[in-house]
């Protein structure tokens, strides 16, 4: 390996391209038998922005944590400038030259910009912070990024974009050679993204290598030289941006080889469904329903025995759509009707009484109540609907729990076990049971098969089909396109927090969905540095 002449911060010339700055090989990490990372490798060159892509659970965050020493890898080599390093904490990683800026800016929002830049290393005299000197240096530091702020003002008075740049400036000033940006643009608007990118270009010119995690493909093509894609903890591929067209990238991320996808896209014929004689009347409809800055207004009709799938990349507005439908977020435009009557979906309790059910994606933080038993978790929604004064007797609870444990094959089949001790798949089944116990007319499932083993996976798909056949309306979010095509009667594709395509019948194929996600018209190049639509 050729040692790289280490480019000084002030060096104006672009560093020699092609020489690896950071190299990691054979990274593996298991959590309780689950392989979060399996033989992953990544090579970062100086002055390069390197996109790290993948869906939820692909292993991006584990990889970053392993690189920065927050999590200890089971195996693998990490070398910076050809020298092996093994940081054991974020602090050590910073000392070695690897700094990370997270999506939730890890600075103190209440402190001034200057204090944030220099916390722990403020210039002092006789133990007192030299405020004037610190501010001067802060202004100098930010001026390098064309940022002219009142550095005495608290950080929180600035936009998230500025906060990100402050965090980057702090990281870079601590002699960072490698900068890891974990979804820095998730909450920025187009204009802010442009400001951030201007900063990244300056850093490139200084020879800093940047690992850029995002789920906005436009941004990948606007700023990144190279792309590495992870899928299910494995390296799905790595290529230069120029070599990897958008459609291929989406395919790499969602893990579908075209031939394989087409083969499995045998869509269940419409006639097989119990909806002969045309479409059933809609149970719930949403017209022009939306919330500014959350999801653009959309139309949606949910019919008995009909599955609507929501497809799109992470952050495209799938989860947000389900939250609006369930009343967990409040729409500021449009109308909702149930059985033809207008309804105001102001809270989940309201939705529950209308016959809606909702399994959120974040099982641990929003789904299960970990210390309560499986039985208690299963009866929770039904009990909430019946109200405080009409408790389910213990016998009724036992019966309901036993029935669903049997029906869904929840293991171990012990209703009195705290649900937190169950595996992810069984927790998911118990959450499904929670809603099935309420006999909902509409069931909303957000990534129902994420992070669960193959067996449970298949069972949940079978269950979705059965529920549909029984006449329930379903709204399902899934990154598993192969799955969606097998059960969906209608697929809505989202991009940049808007519903951009609606596929029905014969059009529901994996390539069709992929094309819609990657933008229907790949001939037209994306506008440079376009952020997401406001």
């Amino acid at each position: 390996m050729v040692p790289v002449s280490s480019p000084h911060d002030d060096a104006p010339a672009a560093p020699p391209s092609g020489a690896p700055l950071l190299e990691l090989t054979g990274f593996s990490k298991s959590f309780a038998g689950f392989k979060a990372l399996d033989q992953v490798e990544l090579t970062l060159r100086a002055g390069e922005v390197h996109a790290l892509l993948g869906e939820n659970g692909a292993g991006k965050s584990t990889l970053i944590k392993c690189m920065t020493g927050v999590v200890h890898r089971d195996a693998g080599r990490l070398s910076l400038d050809g020298v092996d390093i093994a940081p054991r904490s974020a602090e050590e990683a910073v000392k070695a030259g690897i700094a990370t800026v997270y999506q939730e800016v890890n600075l103190a929002p209440n402190l001034s910009v200057a204090q944030n830049l220099f916390l722990g290393r403020q210039p002092t005299r006789f133990g007192l912070v030299r405020e004037g000197e610190m501010r001067r240096r802060a202004r100098e530091l930010l001026a390098a990024f064309d940022l002219d702020l009142d550095v005495a003002a608290p950080l929180e008075s600035y936009s998230v974009a500025v906060q990100h740049i402050v965090a980057i400036a702090r990281a870079v000033d601590q002699s960072a050679r490698v900068l890891i940006l974990d979804e820095p643009t998730a909450s920025l608007d187009a204009h802010e993204v442009e400001i951030l990118f201007a900063v990244l270009r300056k850093l490139k010119a200084r020879g800093i290598g940047i690992v850029f995690v995002t789920h906005f493909l436009d941004q990948v093509y606007a700023i990144c030289e190279r792309i590495t894609v992870l899928r299910n903890g494995r390296l799905a591929g790595s290529a230069t941006t120029a070599e990897l067209p958008r459609l291929d990238l989406v395919r790499m991320m969602l893990g579908r080889e075209l031939a394989q996808a087409t083969a499995s896209a045998a869509h269940a014929p419409e006639a097989a469904r119990d909806v002969a004689g045309g479409r059933a009347a809609a149970f719930a409809t949403f017209e022009n329903y939306g919330k500014a800055g959350y999801v653009a207004p959309f139309d949606l009709a949910l019919r008995p025995g009909h599955v609507v799938g929501l497809a799109g990349l992470l952050g495209s507005g799938r989860t947000e759509t389900t939250r609006l439908v369930f009343g967990a977020a409040h729409a500021d435009s449009g109308t909702a009707t149930v059985d033809g009557a207008r309804v105001a979906l102001t809270s989940p309790a309201e939705a529950l009484h209308l016959g809606f059910g909702y399994c959120p994606e974040e099982r641990k933080t929003e789904g299960i109540v970990a210390e309560l038993t499986v039985r208690e978790n299963i009866v929770l929604a039904l009990q909430a609907r019946r109200g405080v004064t009409r408790p389910l007797s213990r016998r009724e609870q036992d019966e309901i729990a036993a029935r669903f444990i049997r029906l869904l094959d929840i293991r171990p089949p012990d209703p009195e076990r705290p649900i937190g001790l169950l595996s992810g798949g069984n927790q998911q089944k118990a959450l499904l049971a929670r809603w099935l116990a309420t006999e909902p007319r509409l069931l909303i499932l957000d990534e129902p098969t994420r992070g669960i083993d193959v067996g449970a996976h298949a069972e949940i798909i079978a269950l979705i089909r059965r529920l549909c056949a029984e006449g329930m309306a379903l709204l399902v979010v899934s990154s598993e396109l192969e799955e969606i095509v097998t059960y969906a009667d209608e697929v809505i594709v989202l991009r940049d927090r808007a519903h951009v395509a609606r596929l029905t019948g014969e059009d529901i194929t994996v390539p069709g969905i992929l094309a819609a996600i990657a933008e229907a018209d790949p001939v037209q190049p994306p506008p440079a540095a376009a952020g997401r639509a406001a």
Partner: protein, 331 residues
Amino acid sequence: MSLRLPRIGTSQVVALLAILAINWVVSPQFFDIRLQDGRLFGSLIDVLNRGAPVAILSLGMVLVIAMRGIDLSVGAVMAICGAIAASLADSHSLPVVLAAALGAGLACGLWNGFLVAVLGIQPIVATLILMVAGRGIAQLITEGRIVTFTSPELAFLGGGSVLGLPTPIVITLALLALTLLIVRGTALGLLIEATGGNARAAALAGVGTRLITLAVYAWCGLCAAIAGVVAAADILGADANNAGLWLELDAILAVVIGGTSLFGGRFSLVLAVIGALIIQAMNTGILLSGFPPETNLVVKAVVVLAVLLAQSPRLKGSLAVLGSSLFGRRA
């Protein structure tokens, strides 16, 4: 409704029995109970009788803590309600007196609940307001004096007896039964545990968490009022300065000893009452043993530390590892 003890309750019962046994060793007459003028007397009865106010407070506090909240104002609310009861006792009939005192407690609880559930203020901050102002309000009612009364009906609530048992004990037991009925006889207990365990999940499951929060603080205020009336009836008067002073801390301690985590979730009413009895049994034991009563606070501090360490997330983790390696896996 289920009255069975939770699986984890044995350690508290064992602790109570151990303290009682120690009391018996230092004072052999500890378990002697005699019947005099139709009322039971003896150290054991004393423990139950004196423990009643904290036990009653803990019945409200346990629900608040299970919801991940805390109520610092119960001592001050006791003072307010005791003052109201004592001031009205000789001029009004008992139902009027009780209605006024309990109504005031309920109003205080609703105020706290309003601040927490509607305005979204942290519980410790919200209830601090009434903790500070409440004692002033109580003194306003008593006009700074120690108000005494002679009403035998009210005095009965503190010093009388029912079937030989001192009234405070009977009231505590009745309130325990009532709370069990309300909380475990309805779905309230499950919904409280779900909300305290994971508020977001509970809200997404359709639980009306805001209303439950309001109700729980209101109930806590009501319990404080009952404790205040019993305490006033016991001393035939109301001392706004000292009634219920620091009892909020004892009540919190009782709940924590009773195994309810300060981080919310699972709770046990019976064990909270046992926690209150543990505190009182220690007090009585120290008195009986001839140690200066001042030792009490030190002992209490040690108990808090012990319970804290037992609940500490970090220590629990390492103990669990230790336990499983020593005793093999346990369910």
